[in-house]
Every structure is written in C-alpha cells, then in structure tokens.
C-alpha cells in the first residue's frame, strides 16, 4: 500500500538557514498523525515543504508520486493545508473564500452545503468578508476552504492557536466528522491534549530532526516528553 504522503530524507531551508534535516516519515490513508515539537522545531516548515515554500531537497511523494515542487500541485493531488494564522483572504467573502478550495478541482462529499452543515456559523455569515470574522470563524473558514478541495490528507497547522476553549471543543467535534469521512489528518498542535483526542500516532521534531515517533499512548511517557521538550 502506498502512503498518501511520504517524506524521504527531506531537508528544508530558508535563505540558506537549514530548518529541517533528513526527515523521513509516511502517512497512510485514513490515519491521523500528530506532529509535535517545540517552537522552532520545524513543524510548520515540514508542512510548508510540501508546497515548496522553503527550499526543499530530498523527495516528497503523494500517493507514491514524487511531486515536482509546483506549489499548486499538492492540492490538486488531495493534500491540503490549513496554514498557521488561517490566512483568510480578507477582501473576499466567506463564500468566495470557500470557492477558492475548488481550484484543486477535486470532487467528493465536501461542497459548499456540507461545509455549511459542518460549520453553521459560516452559513450565517456567508456574504460577509473574511476580515469581519472572529478568530474562531476564520479558523472554521480556513478548514472549510481546505475541505472544499475534498482532500485525502488534511494538514492543520496550530488550528487552536488563539481560540477560546469552547470553540476548541467545537473544532475537535468537526475534525472527528472529517476523520469519519475517511480523510487523513496531519495535526500540528501545541496542545498535546488535542492530539491525544484525535490522533493514533505521533511524530516528534526537535531542532529540525525527526527524533521520535510511535503510538499516541507513548506521548505520555516521561522519556518521550523530555526528548521533545529539549
């Protein structure tokens, strides 16, 4: 079986400053993986490497096919990102932002109606511009936008950053529904608790190196936590 996303010896750098070194991992269809590590460990960079935002060497494959480094290609192949900071396009309306997800030209269960079912808040403000949304609504919009591409793998970069606890609960619920549709998740989170609720496996980065991986229950172990923390 081929993995939906595979990193083989990936190095990534910004302006010559190396951020990821020789990272190798694979994510299978339908599984949810948490990517953990301190600030600056290279988590966001790992996700952005898929889109060649940093300078990348080594192979990144989607479905066994090595991608060429064209930024728009991963989305078309079903690997979609909910970037850190949401990156809503502020001058477009909610509906227009969602329609951007269709640029990947993939069909499936997710369309504007099912996304609005998942996040009723968005449906209520469909005509508002992105800039007028609250932080939680923006996060929902960012997730909805990525779902519109009907991803096989949804990567989320710090989705709970800046959100109130109540909203986080709603988000976990929504992500459960996404999982049940068969979509794989790769979750970068500071809140280990959230990863433990959703993921079955973890990968840990430290100073750009993949230092540990295993089943989600191992995250509780003291030696694993120490390794990640330092």
């Amino acid at each position: 079986m081929t993995s939906v996303l595979e990193f083989r010896g990936v190095n990534a750098s910004y302006d010559g400053a190396v951020v990821l070194q020789d990272v190798t991992f694979a994510i299978d269809d339908g599984e949810t993986v948490g990517l953990v590590g301190r600030n600056g460990a290279g988590k966001s960079t790992a996700l952005l490497s898929v889109y060649a935002v940093p300078t990348v060497t080594g192979d990144i494959a989607i479905d066994g096919k090595i991608i060429s480094g064209r930024r728009y290609e991963p989305a078309a192949l079903g690997v979609c990102l909910v970037p850190q900071g949401k990156r809503i396009l502020p001058n477009l309306t909610v509906t227009e932002n969602l329609h951007l997800g269709r640029a990947a030209k993939r069909s499936g269960i997710w369309n504007i109606d099912t996304v609005f079912d998942l996040f009723p808040n968005l449906a209520r403000g469909a005509k508002r511009s992105g800039i007028a949304l609250s932080g939680g609504e923006q996060q929902m919009l960012a997730i909805g936008r990525a779902l519109m591409a009907n991803p096989r793998l949804l990567m989320l970069d710090e989705p709970t950053e800046g959100l109130a606890p109540v909203i986080i609960d709603q988000l976990v619920e929504a992500l459960r529904k996404v999982q049940s549709g068969g979509t794989s998740l790769l979750l970068v989170e500071q809140r280990i608790g959230m990863i433990q609720q959703l993921a079955t496996r973890y990968l840990a980065l430290r100073k750009g190196l993949l230092v540990s991986e295993g089943g989600i229950s191992d995250l509780d172990k003291r030696d694993v936590q120490e390794m990640i923390a330092l």
Partner: protein, 283 residues
C-alpha cells in the same frame, strides 16, 4: 465650459482608464510597476496604423490587442516569472529598459514621423449630444471604454478565473497552496493587461495620430493614475483614470497656465492626504 469639452475629458479619461486598469492588474498580481506600459500602448497604435492601411480599422481593433497579448506573454514568461524573487524595483527598472528597446524598434520600423490613422467612415462624422455636434469617433472611444470596464469588473466578480485573480493578487502564496495555478493566472493577467494597452493604442491612433513620443508621454500620466487610485486597485485606477482625463481637459479651459501641472498636483495632494491612494491595495 461646454458639453464638448466635458466629452473630450471623458474620451481622454476613457483611454487612461483602459491603460491604467491593465497596469493596475499587473501590479496587483506581480507587484511590478510596468514602465513598459507606455511602449505597449505605442506598439498598439503603430500596429493599428499598419493594419488600418492594409486591411481596415475594424481588423486593427481585433488584431492589435491580440498581438499585444503575445508581447505580454513574452514579458511574463521571459521576465516576470523568472525574476519573481528579485526586488520589485529592479524588475520595474528592467521594464524601463524594455520600454527604451521597444520604442526604438518602433522607430526603426516606422520611422520618426507623425502618422495619421483615419477613423472608419461610419465614425467619421459628428453626432448630436444634447444639442452639441460632437465627433462620433470620440463617443465611440467612450462607449468601448465603458463596455470594457463593465465587462472586466463583471468577469472579475463572477468567473472562477476572476476569483483566482483577486485571490492571487491579495496573497499569492496562500492561493498557490490552495491549488490555484498562480503562474497561469499571472500569464492571463499580463496578457490581458498588454492587450488592453494595445486596445488603448488602437483607439488612440485615429484620435491623436501616431508619433514617437506618445508612449513616454502617456506613461507618466498612467503611472500617476495608478498611484492616485491606490496601487493595485482596479476600481481605483479606473475611477482615477477617468477623473484625471476630465480634470486635465477641463483644467485646460479654466486654468490654462496650470493644466499641465494638474496631474502632479493631484498626485501630491492625494498622497499627502492618503499615502496608499484612494482605494488602497485591492483588486
């Protein structure tokens, strides 16, 4: 002031509107101030001269924008795409160099003389506008510009490509991550911008006739329009283009001594009041 003068202002404003909307779109997407835009306009006008002489003005109206779209494609594929990581100012200066090259090539092909381009017979007379006889051809320019502007805005609002252009102008990286082929969008926009410059040149040919300095002369006005309208803002550019056309023409009647300075005064006034221009960066 009379209706004829106001209409003159609208006709000039129409040309500025067409030119500056293309420039603003290119700037919005690639961040590059295209100093070759005046040279593209000039190419359109000279091509229109040749096509009108050999075929007809109506053919020129189709052929020239298409030919300019091809030049736009070259501009995008050879320069803008490969120089994306360079500073926008450097790329802007490269387009300045390109403008010098294009203008000289035109000079070599067509020579240094002013060339007249006849308007088609249908448009050659005058029409009655609120009791004033006014050259039909200028009304034609106005009509084309209004239709073009409406179509462009409608297309950007409604079509998928339009949505992608608006998204990529705001945040190219995020757009690409979402699966938008930003390179293709950019090619579309630069071709379209160049084609609009060609259209403006073709329309201007029978109005002003065709001469070697026309590119640089209009470039400065168009740059001012785009900055006053808010760099990258299509709506702002269109409004400012029309406004500048009217102000300049009307100003020539009321303040003949200062008319030539009005664009500069407008620019300084607007930027002192609102540093990002009327509309800020928005497409």
């Amino acid at each position: 002031m009379n209706i004829a003068q106001l209409l003159n202002g609208l006709a000039l404003g129409s040309l500025l509107m067409i030119l500056s909307s293309g420039l603003a779109m290119i700037y919005g997407l690639r961040g590059v101030m295209n100093f070759a835009h005046g040279a593209l306009y000039m190419s359109g006008a000279y091509l229109a001269y040749t096509v009108t002489n050999h075929v007809s003005f109506w053919a020129a109206l189709i052929v020239c924008p298409l030919a300019l779209a091809v030049i736009g494609a070259v501009l995008e594929l050879v320069f803008f795409r490969h120089l994306q990581t360079r500073s926008h100012i450097e790329v802007g200066l490269i387009t300045f160099g390109l403008a010098l090259i294009i203008e000289r090539i035109i000079g070599i092909i067509w020579g240094p003389h002013t060339l007249p381009v006849p308007a088609p017979d249908v448009l050659n007379g005058t029409s009655n506008v609120f009791g004033t006889a006014y050259p039909t051809y200028r009304l034609f320019i106005l009509a084309i510009a209004v239709v073009m502007a409406a179509a462009l805005v409608f297309w950007l609002r409604v079509s998928d490509t339009g949505l992608h252009i608006r998204a990529a102008s705001q945040d190219g990286e995020t757009s690409a991550i979402l699966g938008i082929n930003v390179d293709r969008v950019s090619l579309t926009v630069v071709c379209l911008g160049a084609a609009l410059a060609g259209l403006a040149g073709t329309l201007a040919a029978p109005y002003f006739s065709v001469q070697p300095g026309m590119g640089m002369a209009i470039l400065i006005n168009v740059l001012i329009v785009v900055v006053v309208g808010g760099v990258g803002s299509l709506g702002g550019a269109m409004a400012a283009g029309m406004a500048l056309g009217i102000v300049q023409t009307v100003g020539a009647v009321w303040l003949p001594n200062l008319a030539a300075l009005l664009p500069y005064i407008a620019l300084v006034a607007v930027l002192a009041w609102r540093p990002t221009g009327f509309a800020g960066k928005r497409v």
